[in-house]
Point group: C2
Chain length 248, copies 2
DNA sequence: CGACTTCTTGACTATTTTCAAGATGCGTGG
DNA sequence: CCACGCATCTTGAAAATAGTCAAGAAGTCG
């Protein structure tokens, strides 16, 4: 098992890449400096577990870079991913002592952690944090519900296309690719992780990716590097309405 | 189509049955009286639509009595329920102009509606509402994630057992039945609504209910009235860990 | 009591899973 | 630099689960 690594980072909130999107987005300068006093960074390697469900959790955190997954496991080993945590996403629940889900680093990961006690106190005294967290939680709830539609009603092919579209759109919104019809990105997940997210087996994931490739919806170099020649065609396969689930 | 019905209700917040659990739970007397100024009650009959996805929504609301459903529909008609709204649950999203989901009355329903504009203003000036709403939203997010596990990984039989367990537990917590091994309740949903909630067809729902009946896990009088002789046996069928997903 | 909706059950079909074998790619060490 | 070993991925064949189509039963409401 690899070890946790507490990092001394370029720790200026002012220079933080997720400053404007994370839970601290609405904070004023003085609030930020209070946050700086309770924060520390942690890095994890791809594959490392951040925390196990049920473990005591004495911090909350924002994802700074990389991708983490939230997942639940049944006694017999069946696993379902219940969230994909991207930069600026929030981890942990104020007021709860232990983790409700397994959190795993899907890629190399950096998190900005806040000691829980002072963070909770600050939530009471300053409204900006709680307001922003409410906004973010409502957004997550919408995502979770969109995912419920996928899990409950979409076919395997639609599930794969939907996941690819989400990842593609996210990369595009981070400015890593131009928002034309052609999109290129790397999958941050293994086939098994995709299966756990989509409620499928890894074999079905593999087959459907092959099928989408055969049909020219995507092309692959290696196993992770994906090219989508026509994003609209991908959305068509995903079965979403044309706006792709954008909520005003 | 039945019509909307605006009701003059026994409108005292002090006597409200959901006073201690709803979004107003933390409000002081003076805050309650501000809420009274912006509130009105509405009743709906079982089957009636409260609001359609995409419709403009100039209120937010709490469910006072009855059961409502939140659902999403794909272009080709596939439908997935994404939430079950019980007394004290909150409907609507502050800061959003239109409904993101279809809201339907599953049973006769009474809602306590707040005009959206003043409610949003009050959220900024008084922290109690936003704090409580954050708590409730985090709880809903947990429920949604529990449902994702069900939709993605459970078998049809486990899905049915899980739904029955949830309804049974809820009725018990409302004090309608004693919390012994034996539990009796009425299903608030049709087979089709159950199917939409569970990501199944109504035929599969029907078959699995018959199977649970044949195996003695439940018994039925009529189609809606259910007796669970041994609640632990039902939980076993649901595939949950023994605590039944209770979160501290 | 009768019409209509809701529900049940049967037979067949489709999709996804399971089990199994082999291919590909990646990192490490010779 | 190449080869080996391990993890990841692909593909095939058979099996299981849930879906579809269809008919009829039960319950409900007027």
């Amino acid at each position: 098992m690899p070890m946790l690594d507490t990092v001394s980072f370029a720790a200026e909130c002012g220079a933080c890449p997720i400053r404007h999107r994370a839970v601290c987005a609405r904070c004023e300068e003085d609030e930020l400096s209070r946050l700086e006093d309770m924060k520390y960074y942690r890095s994890y390697q791809a594959g490392q577990t951040v925390i196990w469900s049920g473990d005591r959790m004495d911090f909350v955190a924002s994802v700074v870079s990389g991708v983490a997954t939230l997942s639940q496991t049944m006694e017999d080993g069946r696993r379902q991913m219940v969230g994909l945590l991207l930069p600026s996403d929030f981890v942990g629940r104020p007021g709860r002592a232990s983790a409700a889900y397994d959190v795993t680093a899907a890629t190399d990961l950096v998190m900005c952690c806040f000691r829980k006690k002072p963070f909770e106190e600050m939530m009471i005294t300053t409204p900006h944090i709680g307001q922003r967290l409410l906004e973010m939680t409502l957004d997550e709830l919408d995502s979770a519900r969109e995912w419920m539609l996928l899990l409950g009603r979409k076919t395997a092919r639609e599930k794969i296309a939907s996941l690819l579209a989400i990842i593609a759109r996210r990369d595009a919104s981070l400015g890593l690719t131009r928002p034309s019809g052609r999109i290129v990105f790397d999958l941050p997940l293994t086939r098994e992780e995709m299966a756990d997210y989509l409620g499928l087996t890894l074999e079905t994931v593999s087959r459907q990716i092959s099928a989408l490739r055969k049909d020219g919806i995507i092309s692959l170099e290696g196993k992770r590097h994906v090219t989508v020649p026509d994003f609209d065609a991908l959305l068509e396969e995903a079965g979403d309405d044309s706006d792709g689930g954008m909520l005003s």
